[in-house]
């Protein structure tokens, strides 16, 4: 043990030393003679050693803007790409004609390296301030981008609807094998996480409301609160958010990878429509699974609430009876009615983002992220619309 620790400390310290400490072999001396400034460089000029002299040399150069500067290098023993870069940097600084910088005494083999570069061509471009758009132009540009995205989404909705209609009218043309496989991915495999979250939601809702309600001796009404909020709102919404995080992202990544691998091109040149082939199967699977997942989430959420209330001395039968007395089938249906719309939104947006993938590995990640983010934003908007409509219709 001890030996190992010593070795580790040693290796760390030498590695750190190699990285941090400039090699002492590079040196710089500055002197002013006859109205000229002379920088004498000596020793090894390599990527490690120049770190110690480069800033000083630049400072010495900048401190004498009005006199010629001579860089004397006859005692430089070694100079590699790093050293040449430093010399080029000193040479490329914009100076007055009467105060030019020159390098003298460089050994011929290093001079040929230096001659490969034209310092003037490597002059740092004047720092441009990032072009600032006028506020109005900025707003216009942003609106244009949003508008274009909207146009694409509307076009996609149209394309998908016609493909879905085709699938419904020609069920034998649907690739059901792919649909069932996706159902397994979207539905069956999501059961554990949906159960976990809804159970937790039931517990939290019940516990947080039971504590204040107990002060009024009204714990039993927690059952109504849990039942109503889970069936009408939280069950469908949480399931949809989970679907967006699991399957929306997965759809975008799958289709995005296919695009990067030219598989989408292959489909197109076979005359097969990627929307019919990839999007319809996924939307159908989500459409079939989402209502089932919502019912499952509702049950588990209520179970979580009921179990919590046991600790407030309310038996499960009393809890369920209370739920039954106030919560109606209408409430269950109001929640379930959201499921198909949420499913189409999430699966659709996931597929759309996948189809929009640019090239490269990072593009797939971006598509997956965009699928989840825009999926959740749309969920919130649509859920708000549902709430408004339900309020108007008094459902």
């Amino acid at each position: 043990m001890r030996a190992r620790r010593t070795i580790r400390v040693d290796s760390v310290s030498t590695a750190a030393a190699a990285r941090m400490a400039p090699s002492p072999a590079a040196s710089l001396a500055v002197s002013d003679v006859d109205g000229k400034r002379e920088l004498r460089l000596a020793g090894r000029l390599d990527a490690y050693s120049i770190a110690g002299v480069w800033p000083d040399a630049r400072a010495a150069l900048d401190a004498a803007p009005n006199v010629p500067v001579l860089i004397e290098t006859s005692r430089v023993e070694y100079c590699d790409g790093g050293g040449i870069a430093m010399l080029v940097d000193l040479l490329r600084q914009p100076r007055r004609p009467e105060a030019q910088v020159s390098v003298v005494g460089l050994k011929p083999q290093f001079q040929t390296l230096l001659d490969q570069f034209d310092p003037a061509a490597l002059r740092a471009p004047p720092k441009e301030h990032a072009e600032r758009l006028h506020t109005v132009a900025e707003i216009g540009r942003a609106a244009l981008i949003v508008g274009r995205d909207l146009y694409l989404q509307i076009a996609f909705i149209g394309e998908t609807s016609s493909a879905l209609w085709f699938a419904i009218t020609h069920p034998h043309r649907v690739r059901w094998k792919d649909v069932w496989y996706t159902c397994e991915q979207v539905g069956v495999n999501a059961l554990p996480i949906v159960a976990l979250i809804s159970f937790l939601l039931g517990i939290i809702l019940a516990f947080q409301s039971a504590v204040p309600m107990r002060q009024f001796g009204a714990e039993i009404f927690v059952a109504d609160l849990v039942g109503l909020s889970i069936l009408r709102e939280l069950g469908p919404l949480m399931t949809a958010i989970l679907l967006a995080g699991r399957s929306g992202a997965a759809f975008a990544a799958e289709i995005g990878t296919m695009k990067v691998n030219e598989e989408l091109n292959a489909l197109t040149t076979m005359g097969l429509d990627p929307v019919r082939f990839l999007v319809v199967t996924r939307i159908l699977a989500a459409l079939l699974m989402m209502p089932l997942l919502v019912i499952f989430a509702d049950l588990i959420g209520i179970l979580g609430g009921a179990l919590t209330m046991l600790s407030f001395n309310i038996p499960i039968s009393a809890f369920l009876h209370e739920v039954d007395s106030l919560v109606d089938v209408k409430d269950l249906l109001a929640g379930l009615a959201k499921a198909p719309v949420f499913a189409i939104l999430i699966a659709g947006i996931g597929c759309l983002r996948g189809l929009q993938t640019q090239t490269g590995a990072s593009a797939v990640g971006i598509s997956a992220t965009r699928a989840v983010v825009s999926g959740i934003i749309l969920l919130v908007v649509v859920d708000g619309i549902y709430a408004f409509v339900y309020y108007l219709l008094d459902i």
Binding site: E263, T269, M270
Partner: protein, 258 residues
């Protein structure tokens, strides 16, 4: 056999977002020949091919495949053209979630009304043609790069197209595998009379298979040579073309690195 053009590219201009890659080019591919599109990196060979198979829309011009313009064709007319062509992409582009057999079956399932056993037989025969019948149950990720390309050729041939487009068939393959692929191309071209359009810059392959080549150049944005590759190598009056075929660095590149 008299040369009868099966593909005609006319007054074709293409590029990205105002940046023109090639301007007003014209050429034709004859039925049954192995036609190779050549050019340095960035000269737009693959782009030209993707336009020829209808993936991109050109800025101007037409691509006639067996008499029909793929640029303007839509719907069923387009599908009719696409049925005549098969494409092998640079990466193979096999569907990763399907076995080789399922990959080859897919176009047959979609376009024919054959029953399952018949489709299986046709697909197996296509795999046999490229020497992969023993691997029909494998996933694309379980076989080597050269095998993936051969499987992609088998899939491209599923509907017996009259024209096969191959994008860089020998890229990333060792010389032996690459030579085997060349033999396969020649065998298919001679025995099944398939017209091949190949994008490549693999010289050995070009000499082995090409009946005729065109060479694209990004500086002139056009075709700088057309004809038999061996003849071009020996007699072209364009020094750049001769150098390409002799695998020498161009004079201006040498000047830049000296």
């Amino acid at each position: 056999m008299p040369a009868e053009p099966i593909i005609r590219v006319e007054h074709f201009t293409a590029g990205y977002e105002g940046n023109v890659l090639m301007r007003d080019i014209n050429f034709s591919v004859n039925r049954g020949e192995v036609f190779v599109i050549l050019g340095g990196s960035g000269s737009g060979k693959s782009t030209l091919m993707k336009h020829m198979i209808g993936l991109y829309e050109p800025m101007a011009g037409a691509v006639y495949i067996d008499g029909d313009d793929i640029v303007t064709a839509e719907g069923d007319a387009r599908r009719a053209i696409l049925k005549k062509i098969g494409v092998m992409y640079q990466s193979g582009a096999l569907f990763g979630s399907m076995t080789l057999l399922e990959n080859v079956r897919l176009p047959l399932e979609e376009y024919t009304s054959l029953d399952d056993d018949a489709i299986d037989l046709v697909a197996q025969m296509k795999l046999k043609l490229v020497g992969l019948d023993a691997f029909s149950g494998h996933m694309p990720s379980e076989i080597s790069g050269g095998m993936q390309k051969r499987a992609a050729i088998a899939r491209a041939m599923a509907l017996d197209p009259t024209i096969l487009f191959l994008d860089e068939p020998s890229a990333g393959l060792d010389p032996i595998t690459s030579a085997e692929l060349d033999l396969l191309i020649l065998r298919l071209a001679r025995s099944l009379h398939i017209t091949f359009v190949i994008v490549t810059h693999e010289l050995a392959s070009i000499y082995a298979v090409a009946d005729r080549v065109i060479m694209l150049d990004k500086r002139t944005k056009g075709i700088i040579a057309e004809g038999d590759p061996k003849v071009l190598r020996d007699t072209s009056d364009n020094p750049w073309v001769r150098q390409f075929f002799r695998r020498e660095a161009a004079p201006d590149t040498i000047a830049e690195t000296a």
